[in-house]
Symmetry: C2
Subunit: 322 residues, 2 copies
């Protein structure tokens, strides 16, 4: 068994250098720009940890691990265009720095490279890895579209929101541990269990994110508190609030949403989130999903002590305030 | 052996219906929009014909054939965004009809679907098909970037132009026949020969295209004659012209390029293209490449009569005036 630090070191050793330094440089400079940004590398780490969980060789999981990191970064490049985001991790986004056309093309190339790295594995792993990855990629595009669709809808149900988060965010984390499990020669049963672990962890992660966006501390979270509220985003927290409002609160809500003083809007809606019990309900949902993740991890047929690292990561994600 | 018509019928039978009618509809409507446009289906046909050439079962090549068609259409969707093109095959382009964000996301999904269809083949074909396809996809993105880079350069050499065309256009045709050959269990030697056939055919095709853009008949070509000249595109024809100019013609060229009367510009440069011998040299290059394609086809180790359909397609491409 290897600690996350050891696994991450293996990964960094292989992929820290410029992997996309090639011609034409105008295609690969934008790719390098995003790939060299400091990130937590949580997705490749999950691939390696899941492989290690089942006693697989981490070295054999390195290419799939890099593949999901390239895929994740591809999706950030294209999402940033669609969201017109100028800054990511404190640096200009790819389309801001290199132009939209360069960002579209660089993203396309990254998607092809994600497949190329994924296929750089022994023959017997090729089909199961591809099947899992393909399904996930398509779900992520569907989730991204759901998210876009929700922007112009006012009747998004909690279940719909959860389905969107599942597709847009969680399936990639679930896919990461599944890919690692496949390399580690896990049984189908264990693959499903570890997949569910990743899925519930991802859902819990996103709902915690929604909470931090409204109730975190700006210095720790690293962005302005209340951004989702200002954008009228239909998060779990917000949808719960609208559902738990009394008749009087229900009447107050449209006025708050239309409030032009940004701080007043944030403060007013946050009060509603608390007094309606929506904040508490959302915290409970994040906790429930975390417990579901642990229960799924429990089901995996390996000795409990081997699961300690993954359980610790799940707990860290649950307790974070950033 | 099966005629192209029979093969195309097989293909249409399987894929004529809406293959992307699914939820969320805002993701798949743009995909259907481009996939339902009337096209010549030359790429899937080449996959099926190459498979048939080696005695393979066309049915086994259907998914790879559809894969390259989906990939080709994905590249059109993203290229149309980058080129800001409003019309394709007489219909609004995807980004014009559905918006840029929808077109980016639909294209991304199509690229993933191209891989999904490609992997829907027997196990022993999986790796060779993926290896060929991946290499090609990445080359195409590199070719697209070269094309963009050339727009702002005035010193593009003929060899650079040919390399760009090879990557941007020809490798996909070459990949098509290679994929078909792989499904048809061709030897590596035969795969290389048929790949070269496709590559030279693609190059010949593009150079013929450059000629038709300047010297074709508007009604047959289906667009305004002289478009490349107006855009100062560095085609084989144009680069040859600049190289073959006398000192006096060399001096005249900048004036013609700067000419604001569009028809005068087109007519003036066309005269130079003829009197310098650049037009004749370009026609000769197209012919040479066609002959190279035939020579590659010749090398394939199957009886000559089996090659008749592919040779006929090559001749048709060479002699077309549209």
């Amino acid at each position: 068994m290897h600690s996350p630090d050891v696994l991450l070191h293996l990964y960094e050793e292989k992929f820290a250098k410029n992997n996309f330094y090639a011609n034409p440089t105008n295609l690969y400079k934008p790719v390098d720009h995003i790939m060299q940004m400091k990130g937590k590398k949580i997705r490749p780490l999950l691939v390696l940890m899941a492989c290690d969980l089942f006693g697989g060789k981490a070295e054999e999981a390195l290419n799939p691990a890099f593949s999901v990191e390239v895929f994740h970064n591809f999706s950030l490049v294209h999402d940033d265009i669609m969201d017109a985001s100028d800054i990511r991790r404190g640096e200009p986004t790819v389309h801001k720095k290199f132009g939209t056309n360069a960002a579209i093309l660089a993203g396309d190339a990254m998607l092809a490279y994600a497949y190329q790295y994924l296929t750089n594995v022994p023959d017997e792993l090729l089909r199961p890895l591809l099947t899992a990855f393909n399904k996930t990629a398509i779900e992520i595009f569907e989730g991204q579209q759901m998210d876009v669709d929700f922007e112009t809808r006012n009747d998004v149900a909690l279940e719909e929101y959860l389905k969107m988060v599942e597709f847009k965010t969680s399936v990639l984390l679930a896919c990461c541990v599944q890919l690692g499990a496949i390399v580690g020669k896990a049984s189908i049963e264990d693959q499903l269990a570890i997949y569910d672990f990743g899925l519930n962890l991802g859902l819990s992660f996103q709902i915690k994110d929604d909470l931090l966006d409204a109730f975190g501390e700006a210095e720790k979270v690293g962005k302005r508190i209340g951004g989702d509220i200002l954008q009228n985003k239909k998060t779990y927290l917000f949808i719960s609030t609208t559902q738990l409002c009394s008749a009087a609160q229900q009447a107050e809500l449209p006025r708050l949403i239309a409030e032009t003083d940004e701080q007043k809007k944030i403060d007013g809606i946050k009060v509603l989130m608390e007094v309606t019990g929506a904040k508490a309900a959302t915290e409970q949902k994040a906790e429930d999903l975390y417990q579901s993740a642990l229960a799924s991890l429990q089901k995996v047929n390996v000795p409990a002590e081997r699961k300690a690292y993954l359980a610790a990561i799940a707990e860290k994600i649950k307790n974070r305030d950033y």
